[in-house]
């Protein structure tokens, strides 16, 4: 007897809404189907109505964790269109933030993988150390998640010597912890038993289904945009592309941990060889007519933006392909003939990121049931009005 069970749109294993329909027979999955669109915000349409500068902030909000990836990809494309050469120091700072973001994303993923496998201790430990990266990012950019460091023509903030030494000190701790996780994640018997041999994706399938990022590299294909199509001075920075031949979830874990270790090396190189000079050049508001394809290696894989300009200060068309979409066909192939118990692991192994948030708030009055739509300014006024009536607590101590 086979039944269809819905995994999602709301399910504890998924942090964001997506619907996976599984046809199962006993504990074995016979067929899988993915239904998207629960979180579609029409960002591509939104891009067409905003100026290039405004679009940086829209691009930043495509995804929370890859916020730097989307802006860098977009900004690189726009700079190429308008023929701008950014200062080397700016490119290095972009690389620095990008690699910190990669560490942050991969440590987060490790924790999630532990949680999906029921290994909550691993989850708690990696997420504690992820805080260190968040602190570094806050130190540099002032924000923990949306760094807002990119602008057309360079970066918005410079780093100084004290910040450099601080980052290097933090890195020492992180490197030690990551070695420990590598040891733990690849040697702990019950964890390895859950990961190895799960979600097989052969090299041929991975290429045919156009998988990207660690999913592809764990199947033995050494595709990395940083090496194949270097941007932001990546051609000057020595690093290795991490691959694995095991083609399973364990391989994806190993690839990610090795990438984190590579990122530490890149950051050290960048900090030691940071060129002097300005961090940005002045950019014109209007972009000449043209088109370009901008690629970027996000933590989850290849991120691609196609930008078409029409000579005004607004783009004609801006196509965004986030890495997760490229991995969905491969996920369906991986899920088939697996166990129910492996669904969260296989799905989490592509590091899915189904992005979020709407731009317009809708307020529903509970008593009358009437709906009114408020613009952002009205909301701001409303919050200020609300704020006046609440008392401010002074010197509040954090209960811990």
């Amino acid at each position: 007897m086979s039944i269809t069970i819905p995994i999602g749109p709301q399910h504890p294993a998924l942090k964001e809404p997506i619907s996976l329909r599984m046809t199962i027979d006993g504990e074995v999955i016979k067929d899988a189907d993915i239904r998207l669109g629960y979180n579609h915000r029409g960002v591509e349409k939104l891009f067409e109505g905003k100026t290039y500068i405004q679009n940086i902030y829209v691009a930043e909000r495509i995804c929370g964790i890859c916020s730097h990836s989307h802006t860098t990809c977009y900004v690189n494309g726009v700079e190429k269109l308008s023929g701008l050469e950014i200062p080397k120091r700016a490119a290095y700072i972009r690389v620095l933030i990008a690699e910190l973001e990669r560490i942050h994303s991969h440590l987060l993923w490790l924790g999630v993988a532990g949680h999906e496998a029921g290994f909550d201790s691993f989850f708690m430990y990696t997420w504690r150390d992820r805080e260190i990266v968040m602190d570094i990012l806050e130190e540099i950019s002032g924000n923990r998640v949306h760094y807002a460091i990119n602008t057309i023509g360079g970066v918005r903030r410079d780093i100084d010597e004290t910040q450099k030494t601080k980052i290097l000190n933090h890195l020492k701790v992180l490197r030690e912890r990551t070695q420990y996780y590598k040891n733990l994640g690849t040697n702990e018997p019950s964890f390895v038993a859950r990961l190895s041999g799960v979600g097989k994706l052969s090299r041929e399938d991975a290429i045919a289904l156009c998988a990207v990022g660690p999913t592809l590299r764990a199947s033995g294909v050494d595709m990395d945009v940083r090496k194949d199509d270097p941007y932001n001075c990546y051609e000057e920075i020595p690093f290795e592309v991490c691959t694995s031949d095991t083609c399973d979830v364990l391989g994806r874990t190993v690839v990610r941990i090795n990438e984190v270790l590579q990122s530490y090396d890149i950051i050290e190189y960048v900090l030691k060889n940071l060129p002097a000079g300005d961090v940005r050049v002045k950019a014109p508001r209007k972009v000449p007519e043209g088109e370009t394809v901008s690629r970027y290696e996000a933590p989850r894989g290849e991120n691609i933006h196609y930008i078409k300009s029409n000579g005004t200060d607004k783009p004609e068309r801006l196509k965004v392909r986030a890495p997760t979409l490229g991995n969905y066909p491969a996920t369906v192939a991986m899920l088939k003939n697996g166990f129910i118990a492996d669904i969260p692991l296989i799905f989490a192994a592509i590091d899915p990121c189904i992005c979020c948030a709407e731009r317009m708030a809708e307020i529903q009055d509970v008593k009358t049931g009437s709906t009114e739509i408020k613009t952002f300014d009205e909301l701001k006024k409303y919050s200020k009005k609300f704020d006046k009536h609440t008392e401010h607590k002074k010197d509040v101590e954090w209960p811990l």
Partner: protein, 157 residues
């Protein structure tokens, strides 16, 4: 392999099916083909020139025509195959037989531009809801969004 060699080789292998080939910057190639020659050119790209990875498919509304761009990537270069279909008869053949991973991008194009992808194995909408009105294509330039009237199920009895 530099861009020059790739373009020459492609022209040679496809036998005059390339209408236009430009190389505006390093590692970027744009070629233009007719919709009926698309599959042939793509299979040449995949089998002879090692462009195995399809990054994405982009649709652009150009007024009278829709431009469809297939972005391919290999170790050497990024190649964009450009083709145009008329607005009054927006139809294109699927390339899933050559590149199975293109299915989601083709479904997205179908949703967003109303371009009919012929012989697609799975024609359901990808991103739009199931009750989306037919013939309304959000990414066409003539689409203007209007917030539908809110109906709360079970409310306001």
């Amino acid at each position: 392999m530099t861009e020059e060699i790739i373009i020459n080789k492609l022209k040679e292998l496809s036998g005059g099916k390339i209408i236009e080939a430009v190389n505006p910057s390093t590692k970027r190639i744009y070629i233009k083909v007719l919709p009926e020659n698309l599959i042939e050119v793509i299979s040449v790209l995949k089998e002879k020139l090692n462009f195995l990875h399809l990054s994405t498919i982009t649709g652009v509304d150009k007024g009278q025509t829709f431009e469809i761009l297939y972005h391919f990537a290999s170790k050497d270069s990024v190649l964009t195959v450009r083709t145009e279909v008329p607005r009054d008869k927006p139809e294109i053949k699927t390339i899933t037989s050559i590149i199975p991973g293109s299915i989601l991008y083709e479904r997205e194009i179908q949703d967003m531009f109303g371009i009919k992808v012929l012989e697609i194995p799975d024609p359901r909408p990808l991103l739009l809801p199931d009750d989306w009105p037919a013939g309304v294509c959000p990414l066409r330039k003539d689409f203007k969004y209007q917030r539908p009237e809110e109906i709360i199920p079970g409310g306001n009895k």
